[in-house]
Symmetry: C2
Subunit: 301 residues, 2 copies
């Protein structure tokens, strides 16, 4: 299967000027990035991270790219090249690979990523997709989790919660937003919301050895969180607080930079300030007169 | 499992100055290479590419790195960073990951590669290891399969055949040799012998749209090919011609450069000239008076 399918793929795969040699040699060749490079990988497996009997395979392929694109965005980078490794069940391997690649190529085209190589195997196991992606910061500094400073404003993009109602199938990685934020502000720290707003924020704060005081009423609750709460009996806030797979960005920056971002009318998705970084570690609820500790929740791998 | 094991790994993983941010953020951060970068990925799966009931898991981990290192060597590059994705059977996942990582870390230390990230999953399936690796050519040009020129000498490193007797478990990627060759000569084309000397040479020639006339008596037959021939009834030459997993390098260069390489006493492994690139495509046997077409053989995925 591999040889003919590779020939087909080579014809269809997105190519880019920055990737002078893609599929077909011992390795791909990339032009050097301007400044530092970011490099991430994420794998999804049938029965663990998705269910092929409930989702279209094109969606699964799209998602394998989107979760990596979201990591690239969370580093403040622009994606360049992806390597795609598929482990395919022996039965219907070529059909499955073809359907999965529909989504992969769609994401590659939409976000201007070259498919520069990969590997294909058939085996006695479930469909697994592993994508590795490179990104450039064009001479700037990558956004780390560890850069949040006391006094920073904490902002989140879009609205969160209830992604399980369908948004998780075709998440929108915030590549364009990250580029805009980089031009508008100095982002001190960033992470994407993959496992839950509070859990991922807590990870960012822990990496920065700081905490945050949150204005919980400001957390932008997605309408899907409201709809989902009618199914689950949890509150919309609880869904916004702990649901995963939103793939929004959490960023911290100086209050002045935050004001400039919040005034900007040209963001592809709105940003909301939800709190302030504090020297005291942990998540805290901002309210008049008393201080209440909040417990981060979300999807633990 | 993932969190505690990741913490353990983070402590043990090889780090390098060129990789300022490794495991633990949304992506790794690499200093930019000098000139072009090479990027490869290869996956091995239990029951397909190895058998965990017959091999030590440390060997399997080592091999997952070595096959990628061999691709980096075949591009004439120096390895920099690796991302390691493991899919682990649910039973004994942590023990398996620990044993596999012994070999991965050994290869990383030996060849000075940073383990810059990766992914770990447990699932209902066989052990699978997918490694992605970056390499630098330090401002030079990567060696492609497609650069062979009519009149080039064809050289192979070491001796080939019979790797199944045990060499395939702990292959030696020719990183050091590639560096030496780069300093001695202009390599026009290169490939590593993963699927068989004749098959991989044929791939190089096809990518270059040329052929080669081989002095078949010069092909360096490994002693393991002789030993193996006593088990299989094939000739030692047949094993040298078609056995895979030697991970030696095939390179082409001008005859003058080849002479310089062949005279060099400081190669980590000897090089042998086995033929000459011709304008006529295909593999041909050089002999007095007549011309005989040779058929490439090896392991077809």
């Amino acid at each position: 299967m591999e040889r003919s399918f590779l020939a087909y793929l080579r014809g269809r795969c997105q190519s880019l000027r920055q990737v002078p040699v893609g599929i077909g040699d011992d390795a791909a060749v990339l032009d050097p990035p301007i400044g530092r490079q970011v490099l991430c990988t994420d794998q999804i497996i049938d029965g663990v991270d998705f269910r092929s009997d409930e989702q279209s395979l094109a969606d699964v392929g799209y998602k394998s790219m989107a979760i990596n694109l979201s990591d690239i965005a969370a580093m403040g980078a622009v994606p360049v090249a992806a390597l795609v490794t598929l482990s395919l069940p022996k039965t219907n391997a070529t059909r499955i690979a073809g359907e999965v690649y529909e989504g992969i190529l769609q994401a590659a085209g939409q976000f201007d990523v070259a498919i520069a190589g990969g590997d294909l195997s058939t085996y006695e196991g479930p469909l697994a997709l592993s994508v590795t992606m490179t990104g450039d910061v064009h001479g700037g500094e990558p956004w780390l989790r560890s850069g949040a400073k006391e006094g920073d404003a904490v902002l989140v993009s879009g609205a969160v919660g209830g992604s399980l109602l369908g948004r998780h199938l075709r998440p929108t990685p915030r590549i364009e937003l990250a580029g805009r934020l980089r031009r508008l502000a100095t982002v001190n720290a960033a992470i994407d919301v993959s496992d839950g707003l509070s859990l991922d924020l807590d990870r960012l704060l822990a990496a920065s050895r700081v905490g945050a005081e949150l204005d919980v009423d400001q957390i932008p609750i997605h309408e899907d969180a409201v709809a989902r709460s009618r199914q689950t009996g949890l509150t919309p806030f609880q869904h916004a607080w702990s649901d995963g797979e939103d793939f929004e960005l959490i960023v911290t920056m100086s209050p002045d930079d935050a004001d400039r971002v919040l005034r900007c009318k040209e963001l592809s998705v709105p940003m909301t300030r939800i709190g302030t970084v504090t020297g005291r570690t942990g998540l805290w609820k901002k309210s008049t007169g008393k201080v209440e500790r909040l417990s981060p929740q979300g999807y633990q791998h």
